[in-house]
């Protein structure tokens, strides 16, 4: 099962700063293991961020994003208490959704 994300969302002025940590191997499919066998690609392909029930970010990701990805976004018009929902799906169909509230 996929590991939980860590989501932080904080108002700075009239903008909510959303920081997301995801636990994922982000295997490129280019690496070989000790036995010389190619390690199959395994990476997050898409992600969405919703704030206050509205989708604000629709993202697509490739193998060049670092292992255990970190993303930062800024959202205008959010307010303290708004629910932040982040979801991702990877190339094997694994997926994860986590929530936080704007602080």
């Amino acid at each position: 099962m996929a590991d939980p994300m860590k989501i932080r969302a904080q108002m700075k002025g009239d903008v909510a700063e959303v920081r997301i940590l995801m636990g994922h191997a982000m295997e490129t499919g280019q690496r070989k293991d000790a036995a010389g066998k190619t390690i199959p690609a395994h990476f997050i392909q898409s992600m969405t961020v919703e704030v206050g029930g509205k989708k604000v970010i629709d993202g697509q990701i490739g193998t060049s994003v670092s292992r255990n990805p970190v993303f930062g976004f800024k959202v205008k018009g959010a307010k303290v208490g708004d629910k932040v929902v982040v979801s991702w799906v990877d190339n094997k169909g694994d997926k994860r959704t986590d929530e936080a509230a704007v602080a």
């Binding site: 992600m47 969405t48 989708k55 604000v56 930062g72």
Partner: protein
């Protein structure tokens, strides 16, 4: 509970997500208004920057000083290169980030809606010293900014 499933995926019942689609059809999960766009295979699997740009529909781009790309001159570690892209170009609807010399240059692409500011940060893998490119889309036009990041090897664990 996972709820953000693409309607298109559901309709097509695409291979790897077949089980998920079955769950949705069985009414266990239901898609919400948050439809994720389908993964742009052509762009992400392109082996060079030109191919990736073509895949993004951005064959022609213009340089812009209103598109700011913040990356280190030298990466402390090529496995984790911090990148920040901010677009001041009015009506920026999307930002993409590429590493020219990576085997698959396109790293990520983000569409903005409902108040999202055209300001994203991420961390990238870089196999070697390379140009990093940001591409912004605004009113159907594409703009670009780029900067070289040197990647060093070696050293101990701190």
């Amino acid at each position: 509970m996972e709820m953000n499933v693409t309607r298109r995926t559901v309709l097509r019942g695409a291979g790897s997500l077949g089980a998920l689609s079955a769950l949705i059809m069985a009414g266990v999960l239901k898609p919400t208004a948050a439809y994720a766009a389908e993964w742009n295979k052509a762009a992400f699997e392109a082996k060079d920057t030109a191919g990736a740009l073509k895949g993004l529909g951005a064959a022609t781009t213009a340089d812009s000083n209103d598109l700011m790309l913040k990356v280190p001159d030298i990466a402390e570690n090529g496995a984790v290169v911090p990148v920040d892209v901010v677009s001041k170009i009015p009506n920026t609807s999307s930002i993409a980030i590429l590493v020219e010399k990576n085997p698959q240059p396109l790293c990520a692409q983000f569409d903005f809606a409902n108040g999202a500011v055209a300001d994203v940060s991420a961390r990238l893998k870089m196999g070697q010293t390379s140009l990093v490119k940001a591409i912004a889309k605004a009113d159907g036009k594409f703009y670009t900014a780029q900067k070289e990041v040197k990647v060093t090897v070696g050293g101990c664990g701190g």
